[in-house]
């Protein structure tokens, strides 16, 4: 069965680009344009990995991350953001994200993050 990925980003361009990377690599992709839809889809479908933007309309990405971890303490969340600050990496790591990929992203970086996060046991380490 294909691993399920939920892309959470208010940019349609980013969602489309990620879909174009992930589908040919064998992932089943779902999209959410904001945090509330993401939380609903997560509850319904329990995707294997969530790719989460930080700065979004409505609910901020960090808040979405915290709520996802409340829903499922083992949720695998990879933050995909343009924010390059070291302090932001620390914040999301403390909130339970498994990895951080900076925009503009490389196909190789995304696929590498996906592979490593899926190979880790629940509660794995931050990359």
């Amino acid at each position: 069965m294909k691993p399920k990925v939920l892309i959470v980003d208010d940019s349609a361009l980013s969602r489309r680009t990620l879909r174009q990377i992930l589908e040919p690599a064998g992932y089943a992709v779902e999209e959410a344009a904001d945090g509330l839809i993401a939380l609903e889809l997560y509850s319904l479908d329990r995707p294997d990995v969530v790719l989460l933007d930080l700065v979004m309309k409505g609910m901020y990405g960090l808040e979405v991350l915290i709520k996802l971890r409340e829903l499922d303490a083992n949720a695998r969340v990879v933050v995909v953001s343009a924010d390059i600050q070291t302090s932001s990496h620390t914040l999301v790591e403390e909130a339970g994200a498994r990895a951080f990929v900076n925009k503009p992203f490389d196909k190789a970086d995304i696929l590498k993050a996906m592979t490593s996060v899926l190979q880790e046991p629940p509660g794995g380490t931050y990359r």
Partner: protein, 204 residues
């Protein structure tokens, strides 16, 4: 309020690093070499902001605006003319640039490019100065430069002076020019200068 030559020099160095990071991001997005002009730093009263920006671009502009907050508060803008906006759309989506209009696809591309470039620039500030900068959602507008400036200044009673930092960029094969502009209040300029001076002391 005026900066000393030493403060101006230190500020330009930090801005150089930040804008260099933004140029690298744009190069990665478009697959083209990005030439960056030397950043220029000017200080002007808020009511003269429009005049200060005018020599850069004429006519209607596409601008992506993000408010940033934290120890340093201000506005960051990516400003480009309509022709350049259409070329960027073509580079990122393979959709034709002509006719030169900002359609839905171009809006989507510009907003995300603005988000990435402004984050690259201000995030470098945050990293270098060891402060956490938070960003608002990027907002794209298409209007005159005066309209853009007005949207920044209206309702900002405490903002009497603005630091305009701008650096033009050009994509070698695409003849595209745009500007990154950072507008800071006097209080934030002072905090920024103090942080830069502290960084220099720490490096000795």
């Amino acid at each position: 309020m005026e900066l000393t030559a030493e403060q101006q020099d230190a500020l330009v160095e930090v801005i150089n690093i930040a804008f260099g990071r933004a140029a690298a991001s744009l190069s990665k997005l478009t697959g083209q070499r990005v030439q960056l002009e030397v950043p220029q730093v000017t200080m002007c009263p808020i009511e003269e902001l429009s005049r200060g920006l005018r020599p850069m671009i004429v006519g209607d502009v596409a601008s992506v605006h993000q408010i940033f907050s934290g120890p340093v508060v201000g506005d960051a803008l990516l400003v480009i003319d309509q022709r350049s906006a259409a070329i960027l759309k073509e580079l990122l989506t393979s959709e034709p640039a002509l006719p030169l209009e900002i359609d839905a696809s171009a809006r989507e591309v510009l907003t995300e490019i603005g988000n990435i470039l402004l984050n690259a620039c201000l995030g470098t500030f945050g990293n270098l100065l060891q402060v956490q900068v938070s960003f608002s959602v990027p907002h794209l507008t298409l209007e005159t430069l005066e309209g853009v400036v007005s949207s920044i200044t209206v309702g900002r009673q405490g903002l009497r002076y603005a630091l305009i930092v701008h650096a033009g960029f050009r994509l070698r094969d695409s003849n595209l020019t745009g500007y990154l502009v950072i507008v800071l209040s006097v209080a934030s300029i002072e905090r920024l200068i103090r942080a830069i001076e502290q960084r220099e002391r720490d490096q000795r």
